[in-house]
Every structure is written in structure tokens, then in C-alpha cells.
Symmetry: C2
Subunit: 155 residues, 2 copies
DNA sequence: CTCTTTGCAAATTTTTTGCATGCGC
DNA sequence: GCGCATGCAAAAAATTTGCAAAGAG
């Protein structure tokens, strides 16, 4: 992770530029709060929760409110400027433990199973996992817009 | 998904057996509620939320309480009888959009990045994703026990 | 100057916990 | 019968929403 620190630093400029560009493209104003919240996530290596982002931003900006953080995180996600680890708020469960993947529709929230096709082997693990610990479970999550939502959007 | 329905049906017996076995192994009692909750998740293809499981179980058992569902889902997860899609309750954010994976420690909740090693290509997508919709984001999540927790456990 | 965005507060939703009673072992 | 597990209720945590005031374009 640390060997990436410097890359991240130099990349922060690019990201900020992209942030402003994206905001303008979507007609959103580039406010201090948005910039701070974006930076807080972009600079952090620790996958912060909304609360953690709030605390970090508060140091630079003592009266941001938690709800602004929530609203901004959601809009940054929508602009593809950050991503959510895991799923949105509500926990969901899967009783099928056979290896398979999930397609998560970011519009309707539906979770679809993707089972391996006949003859398809198990997914290869990234080499970098060596030495991190013991892997007990693998879950590949693909996020996008499902067929149904694509069609509704066209209509 | 439907071509798996029948497999799931026949597999339900195995799973129930495994469920009872696992309960006894961990010294947990095999109660009606646990069995019902386990079945509700095992039979469902829709990755139900706690609330949905609660509603389903209520049909067969009108006075289960929601907190029993929560407690039971947590213990079933711990016994590896089901898995959680996404992460536990709290949302977490990642500002790094370069392709990388996450190692999630199920003991301490820490999320570690796994960047591709030099020369390592992008992860192949499962063939079955064809026709599900447009994939915009790929997230591979490996769950297990991280190095630090392994060592603390030994001590 | 306009209209989005913010902060505040309060509401909602999701999840957790304490305690007396009940049921599996 | 013993003791974990449940149900109830209430608390805590996480997230969302309505509205007046502030600030970006």
C-alpha cells in the first residue's frame, strides 16, 4: 500500500481536476465542502466510513454537517469519483455458498447471481493477496445497470 | 438462475444437515427459529435483507422477532452457513478508482487494498455476465482473517 | 441576482442490547 | 432442571429529509 502513497499524491491533482470537470459537466457547483469531502476520501488509504470522513473534514472545516457528508458522498459516487466498498446501507444475505459472482444494479439495487458456465474454472486470485492473511471467501461483485433498468430508461 | 432451482432444492437437504451439524459443533441449539431463518435464506434466490427474511419467516412463524432474525443471521454467517453480500452495516468509501481488490478482515473489519503486481493483467470477468447489463465497475472482495488478527489470536 | 447547496434539526431506517420467560438438551 | 435462545421493548447507530439561510455562478 505504501509504495502507492507517492503515486496517489501526484495523482491527487488529476483527481481534483477530474472532480471539478465532472461537477461542471453535471451542473453541480464546486463548493468548498464538496472539494474537502472529495479530498478526504481521495487522500485516505483506509476506506473511511461516512462518520470518519465527517471527522476528517471537520478538522479543516469545523461546521460541516454530517448530512452534507452523506449527500456529497452519494453524489460523488454517482459521478464515479469514488466507489462504495460493499453495498449500500442495507445488509443482504446469500445462502448459496457455491462459488458464484454478483451483478449489482446500481439503479434498482437488485442483486443477480452469476454462476460459472459449464467448463469455466474458478476465478484466479490476485497475486498480491499472498501474505495478507487467510482467505476464506471470495466474492466478485460487478456493478452496473441491469437489462431491465436499461430498457426502462430507453422507454 | 432458474436452471439452478432444482439443484438448490435437492441441495437443501444437504444444507440443512450441514446446518445442524455446524450448530452442534459450535454448541448452539437447533431451534425452530434458527432452522426457519436458515431455510428462508437458503431457499431464496433474491439475496434478502434482514427485513425480508423477517417477513418470510413470519409467514411460517408469526411471532419471531426481528432481533432474533438479526442475531441468527449473524451467527449463521459466523458458522459459514451463509454469506453477506457487500459489507457489514456501515458503508465505506474508496477514492482510488484504479483497478484493485479488497481484502476484508472479518475479525477486525479492516479493509486492505490489493493492487495488481507488476505485469499482472486485469482480472477476467465471468462469462455469465454477458447479457445481464452494462458493467461499470468491478470489485473483487476477499474475506478472511488478516495477518494482524492471526497473530493476536495466537498470542 | 438566482438557484443550488448547506446546516440544523428532526424523522426514518437499520441494527444492537438488557432482561424476564421459554424451550432444547 | 440448567442454561442458552427468544421475544419484547427500548436504545443506539446509520442514513435520509424538510426548510430557511448562505454562497457559487
Amino acid at each position: 500500500m505504501n509504495q502507492h502513497k507517492t503515486e496517489i499524491k501526484t495523482e491527487l491533482q488529476n483527481r481534483l481536476a477530474r472532480f471539478e470537470e465532472q461537477c461542471r459537466a453535471k451542473g453541480l457547483r464546486v463548493t468548498q465542502q464538496r472539494r474537502e469531502i472529495f479530498c478526504a476520501v481521495a487522500q485516505s488509504c483506509e476506506h473511511p466510513s461516512a462518520e470518519k470522513v465527517f471527522q476528517a473534514v471537520r478538522r479543516a472545516m469545523p461546521n460541516v454537517s454530517l448530512d452534507t457528508v452523506y449527500r456529497t458522498l452519494a453524489s460523488l459516487e454517482e459521478m464515479d469519483l469514488l466507489m462504495r466498498v460493499g453495498l449500500s446501507s442495507k445488509a443482504r444475505f446469500d445462502g448459496d455458498l457455491r462459488p458464484h459472482c454478483h451483478f449489482v444494479c446500481t439503479r434498482c439495487g437488485e442483486v443477480y447471481d452469476i454462476f460459472p458456465q459449464p467448463g469455466e474454472g474458478p476465478l484466479p486470485l490476485p497475486a498480491g493477496v499472498q501474505g495478507m492473511g487467510e482467505v476464506k471467501q471470495v466474492n466478485l461483485q460487478l456493478r452496473g445497470i441491469c437489462k431491465k433498468c436499461q430498457q426502462e430508461h430507453k422507454a
